[in-house]
Structure formats: C-alpha cells, structure tokens
Amino acid sequence: MRGPLTLLAHSFKRARTLVLVMGALLAIFQVFLIVVAKSLQKSNAFAQIGALIPPFMREMLGPSLTSFLSFDGLVCVGYFHLAVMGSLVALSIALSTAPTSEIETGFMDLILARPLARHWIITRSILVLGVCTLALLAMMMGGTWAGLQMLAPKDVAWPASGLILSLAINLGLLMLCWGGVAMAIGSASRRRSVAGALAGLLALATFLMDYVARAWPPAESVAWLSPFRYYSPFELLMGSPLPARNLIVLAGIASTGFALAYILFSKRDISQ
C-alpha cells in the first residue's frame, strides 16, 4: 500500500490549495447571502420583491416562490445558485480529469513506470473527488452556520439544519455525478482540455435541457436525461423530504462513470 498512499498524499497536496480557496470563497458567499437576507428582512423587502415578480414567473416557480422569498429561503440560495453549482461542477470536472493531465504532461509515465497498478490512478481520483466534495460542502455549511450565528436577526426563523444538510447531500451527489462523467470521458481522451470541454459542454447542455423543461412542458419528455433534474432544491425548500430516487439516480450515474473510467483506463495506451 506504500505506493498508492504516496500517490494519494501527493494528489491531496496538489488539490489542497484550490479546494481551500474555493471552499473559502463559497463560505464567504454563504455569509454574504445572510447579510443580504438580513438587510431585506430588516427593510421588509421580501414582500415587495414578491409583488414585483411578473405573473408568468410566479406561475413557473409555483409555490416555491414563497419559500424562496424569505430569510431562510434566501440563505439556502447558496446551495443552488447558478454560480455555486457551476463552479462546483467545474471543480469536479477539473479534479476528475487530473489523470488525463498527468498523461499529457508525461507525469503518468513516471508514476506507471513504477510497480503501481493502473486501477490506483482511478481509485485515487475518486477518493480525491469524494474528499474534496465533502470538504467543500463542509466549508459551505460552516459558512452558513457561522453567518447565521453572527448575523441572523433574532426574530427570524433559520433554515432547518436538516434542509441545509439535504441540499448539501443532493448537491454533493450532483458533483460526484459530473465527476464520474468527466472521469469516464477523460479516461478515453488524450487531452485534458478536450475531456474538460466535452464534460463541461455536456453539463451546460443538460442544465439548459432541465431549465427549458421547467418552463416549457413539451421538453419534459427528455428532461429526465439531465442529471440536473435530480437536484430539486425548490422542492426541498417547500418541505419535501430528500427524494431517494434523485440520490439513487445521481449515485448511479457517478458509479457508472467511475466503472467506465476503470475499464477505459485499464485498456488504454498511455501516450502523450
């Protein structure tokens, strides 16, 4: 186990700065949202904003609008804001395509010229992805908790810890899902830029597919193909329990991606 542990330690060290910086930014974003929510709450602006929303938007968002336009609802936005989701998915893709980058730079030659089985490369990447995902979500939740402790007005309801945890779990699985997809693509690619771009475009396309389907019913028939369909923060905000089906589908896609990555990487030629 000496070799795999050395590789794992090296990879964690390499990802450390990026994850810490990103985690800190996301935690600050959570605090920032609490500051905004506190300000809106103080000026009683939530009701005014609600009144400004056009009817078609109200119809589209449905009852979730009410839960969103509240102090606790706005605090939760940090777990499904487009920028947050986009950066987390991008990080997953970056971490998962690390083996492709190592092949491209020639670093993999040095690693695999040692007595180290190829499957450790993928196992290492899955472990790094998993631990980094946990660390990021923990930092985000830490930011939410610290922000609420320091800034929340005394007379408002905080979001339930169960709700925050459900959002974080669902978001974490979404990250792993895209990590799995990117790892499978990366295992068959020669260039990290190609693998990253393909996975990124796929993420964007499926995000738009899900987004369009929410506003345009005919698109519903294909929306099930989008992994984003299985992350429903608004339903959670409205008090629905974390749907097991969503978690199973996301975990299933992630596992399939990882399994494909193992197979493809074990068979491929390692050449720059």
């Binding site: 590789l7 730079t105 030659d109 040095l110 010229a113 040692r114 030629d269 390692i270 720059q272």
Partner: protein, 306 residues
C-alpha cells in the same frame, strides 16, 4: 530478484508488433538483452525506440507478441516486472511547482523498496546536484539540472535494470563523463542497462552491444566489438620513389586516392594480404586509421533513408 530466475536475459522481446491504425510503429521485433550488459538502442526519430521502451513499461500494449523483464511478462505480470526497472524518460514530465527533493521522495515512495539515502547522496555528488538545489522548485531548474534529477530518480532505487531514453541529452560534457563513469560502476555491480541514444560516439564508448531499429524493424543487433571488426580502415601508403602503376588489390580493398608516391585505400577485413603485397614495394611509411564505429552505423541509417 528471485533466485529462481534462471534465464540469461534481462529483457526478452519476442515478436512484438505495435500498430496504430495503418501505421506500424514496431514490426515483429525480436531482441534479447543479456544480464549485466549495456545495450545501445539506436534508430532515427520515429524508428520505434520509444514505443518499444513504453511496451516494456506496460505504458503501451503491443498489438501482438510479448516482452519479458527478468522472465516477468511486461503486461501480464507488469507490477513485478516494473519493480525491477529504473526508468528515465526522454522528457521529465514533472510539475514545476514541486522541488527536486519532493519529486525524488514522491517517486521513491511509489517503489516497493525504500531508497538508500546514502546512495542517493552519492548520485547527487557525482552529478553535482547538491541538496540546496534539490530544495529549489523545478521551474528554476535548467534543462541539464532536470536531466540530472531524472537520472537520480531512475538510479536511486539501484534497480537491476535501467531503461534510459536519451540519457545524456542536455548534459554538459563534464556531466556526460560523470554519467559514463556511473554507467561503468552500474555495470560492475551486474546491473543491466538498456539505453536509447542518438549519440553514436557515446554508444560506441559505453555499450557492449547495439541494436538498431529502422522503420520499426530491427536491422542490426551486434556486439560493439564485432562491429568494430567490420569497420573499414583507411590505409595511407607513402613510397620512397614514384610508382608508375599499382598491382591488383585483394578483395575488400577500395582505392580512395592514388598518386605517384601516395596511395589511400579503404580496407575491409584483414590487413594481412595488403601488407604482404607492400613488402615487395618501396614503402617509406604506412598510416592506418581506424574508422569510427559511427561510420559503420551511419551506413545502416542511410540505407534506411534511401
């Protein structure tokens, strides 16, 4: 190494072919590298040298054929095969934010056996890469320093087999000398070296045998001493008086230049018949110049390009 290993071969390549679509990088290559010898693996760019090396390391999978390192199948028993190899790639692909020491420690950690730091220190000393340089980030390293680091990482585990891809590329002449001395030591300790090189003089100097690839096919595999015997010699004969004509020369003798008091000949094979002929002539002086091994090898390269 397992004492049960009985074969004389450190590397045994049996009919390896590697194709990429329509392109054949290596074609039905058979090659044996004996234990304890230094084999120079030659060929023009794209001849298939690196492909062969990468198959030995299981970085590439052959289309057909098989390769063994100390009887371990390079693909089916790759972990055990690679545990016996120290590898220097043509280009050291390491992250520039790492220090030299981090690279060495990381790569040592991937090996099965701990590295003897005393031996690593000796290598550093011989290649003049002191510890203070190892604390610097690789982005501050020159090409030569990176090459030295590459050599140290390949040698630090003192493996039974060294596979070196263009080992002296980027090293200054003094460091090349140090490297040759290190190779001599490695050979004395019974290690095997399989090195690819473009520098024919280097191959002629340090290798026991050479194997030459051309367009993926092995066109020459011979002991360096044997090749030297094949190498033609240039003989210059100066006469004390003008020679009006010359007698018929034995087979393998080619006239390069002829003047009344001077002959320049190119002789392949034994010199005896020529010397016998010259005893009957008014010879003042004879100069015998041994052609370099490179000249013999270049012939094989040229045949490939024509």
């Amino acid at each position: 190494m397992n004492s049960a290993d009985t074969t004389q071969s450190a590397i045994s390549i049996r009919g390896i072919t590697k194709r990429y679509g329509n392109l054949t990088a290596v074609s039905n290559l058979h090659l044996e590298v004996n234990r304890g010898e230094i084999l120079g693996f030659l060929g023009l760019n794209g001849a298939g040298k690196t492909t062969t090396i990468r198959i030995l390391l299981d970085l590439l999978r052959p289309t057909s054929g098989s390769a063994f390192v100390f009887d371990r199948h390079c693909q089916n028993d790759g972990l055990n095969a690679r545990s016996l190899i120290g590898y220097l790639p043509g280009e050291l692909g390491v992250y520039s934010h790492l220090t030299g020491r981090e690279v060495l420690d990381f790569l040592a950690g991937l090996s099965r056996h701990p590295v003897d730091l005393k031996y690593r220190g000796e290598l550093q000393e011989r290649l003049e890469l002191p510890s203070r340089d190892l604390h610097r980030k690789l982005r501050e390293y020159s090409t030569g320093m990176k090459r030295k680091l590459g050599l140290i990482q390949a040698l630090q585990g003192d493996p039974p087999l060294l596979i070196l891809d263009e080992p002296t590329e980027g090293l200054d002449p003094l460091m090349q000398e140090s490297f040759y001395a290190m190779l001599a030591d490695v050979r004395k300790r019974g290690r095997t070296v399989f090195m690819s090189s473009h520098v024919l003089s280097e191959v002629a100097r340090v290798c026991d045998r050479v194997a030459l690839l051309r367009k993926g096919e092995l066109v020459l595999s011979s002991a360096v001493e044997e090749l030297r015997k094949l190498a033609p010699r240039r003989v210059r004969v100066i006469f004390s008086e003008p020679m009006d004509s010359h007698p018929g020369f034995p087979t393998g003798h080619e006239i390069v230049e002829i003047a009344p008091r001077y002959w320049s000949l190119r002789v392949e094979g034994m010199l005896g018949p020529l010397l016998e002929l010259l005893t009957t002539l008014p010879v003042q002086d004879i100069e015998i110049e041994e052609l370099r091994l490179e000249d013999v090898l270049i012939k094989y390269y040229r045949e490939g390009t024509s």
